[in-house]
Symmetry: C2
Subunit: 195 residues, 2 copies
DNA sequence: GTCTATACCGCGATAGAC
DNA sequence: GTCTATCGCGGTATAGAC
C-alpha cells in the first residue's frame, strides 16, 4: 500500500477515454463536444485538458490503441500449418475480436476522415498491416493449391468486409449466439475461397 | 419558350445539393458548415435557405433520393426465373449501382446517426426493403434446392457487406476494370451460397 | 434571388483561483 | 485536480435592403 489507489486522478483518465469512445461511436467525433464528454464523466470541460492535449488526440489515441490491440491479439494466436485451419482461425478471431469492441470498431472505420494528416497515415499503416496478414493466409493457401482464388487482394477485401459487417447487426442476447454466427460465416468464407 | 430556362434559380438548387453531397461525403455532415456549402456554390450562406428549410433536410433528402433511385433501379431489372441468374443479376447490379454513386453510398451508410428520429425511421425502412429483396432471391434459391444456406438472413447481411465493400477501395482507372471486379465477386458469392 | 448584417448560441482551449 | 470565467471564433438561421 505504498500509495493511494482510489485517487480521482487514476480513475478520471480512463473514464474520460471511455466516455469519449461511447459518445464518438454514438454521435460521431465532429458532433460531440468536449463539454458533453466532461458532463458524461461528471467534471467541467476545462478539467479534460489535464488528460489530453486536445480533442484530436482523444480520437487518435483510441484508434491507435484499438488497432494495436488488434495486431497484438492476432500475433498471439497459436501457429497453424494448414492453410484451411489458418483461415478458420482468422475468421473466428476477427468476428470475436470485433464484436467485443463494437464502439472502437465503428470509430476506427467511420472517423478516419477526422484524423489530421499525420495521424491518418499512422492509422492507415496499421490497418494495412492487419489486411496484409489475411492476404498472407490466402496467398499461402492459394500457393498450396488449397484455395481457388483468382486475386488474393480482392478476396482479402471481400472477406474483411463480410466479417466486419457482423458488428453492424449482431447484438448479444439476440436470435443467435456468436459462436453460431462464427460457424455460419466460416462456412461461407470457406466455400467462397474454394476450400 | 414559355419561360426562361437558364435563370439561376433553376440551377442553384441542384448545385447546392451536389456541393453538399460532395462535402458531406468528404468531411462528414457534422463537420461541414452551411457557410462552406455556400462558398462551394458561390453564394452567401443566407441564400441556401431559399432551397432548403435547414441543414437536416439537405441530408435527409439526399439519402432519400439515393435509396429511392436504388429501389427503382432494382425494380426495373428484367425478371429472371433461374435463382442463380437472379443472384448474379443482383450481385452485378449492386456493385455497379453503388460504384457509380460512391458519395451517396458513403453518406447513406455513415450519416444515419445524424438523422433525426423520424427521418431515420424512414431511411431505415427503405434500406430494409432493399435487403429483403436480396433475401427473397436467396430464399427462392434455397427452397429450390439450388443454394446451400443454413440462414438466408445472415447470408443477406454477408453478401451485402461484401459487395458494398467494393466502394471503399475501387477507383476508376486502377488495376482492374469494374466488370472484372464484378466477375471476381460474383464468383465468390456464387461459391459462398453453394450454387 | 441574392446580398449584407446580425442575433444568438455553443465550440475548443486557456488562465488563474482554490 | 478541478473549478469558474473567459477569449476568440464560427455555427445555424433570420431580417431586411436591393
Amino acid at each position: 500500500m505504498a500509495r493511494k489507489k482510489n485517487s480521482s486522478a487514476e480513475v478520471t483518465g480512463p473514464r474520460i477515454r471511455s466516455a469519449a469512445q461511447r459518445l464518438f461511436a454514438r454521435h460521431g467525433y465532429a458532433a460531440v463536444s468536449m463539454r458533453q464528454i466532461a458532463a458524461e464523466v461528471g467534471v467541467q470541460a476545462g478539467a479534460l485538458y489535464m488528460y489530453t492535449p486536445d480533442k484530436q488526440s482523444l480520437l487518435y489515441d483510441m484508434m491507435h490503441d484499438h488497432l494495436q490491440a488488434l495486431l497484438d491479439s492476432h500475433a498471439a494466436l497459436p501457429e497453424c500449418a494448414d492453410p484451411v485451419a489458418r483461415l478458420e482461425q482468422f475468421t473466428r478471431f476477427h468476428i470475436r475480436f470485433h464484436n467485443a469492441r463494437s464502439d472502437a470498431v465503428f470509430i476506427a472505420y467511420m472517423e478516419l476522415r477526422n484524423l489530421d494528416e499525420g495521424n491518418f497515415k499512422r492509422i492507415e499503416a496499421m490497418r494495412r498491416d492487419y489486411e496484409a496478414r489475411l492476404q498472407a493466409v490466402l496467398e499461402h493457401g492459394r500457393a498450396a493449391g488449397v484455395f481457388q482464388l483468382p486475386d488474393t487482394k480482392l478476396a482479402t477485401f471481400a472477406v474483411i468486409a463480410m466479417l466486419t459487417g457482423v458488428t453492424t447487426w449482431y447484438r448479444e442476447g439476440g436470435r443467435l449466439s456468436l459462436s453460431h454466427v462464427e460457424d455460419v460465416y466460416w462456412n461461407m468464407v470457406r466455400k467462397a475461397v474454394g476450400a
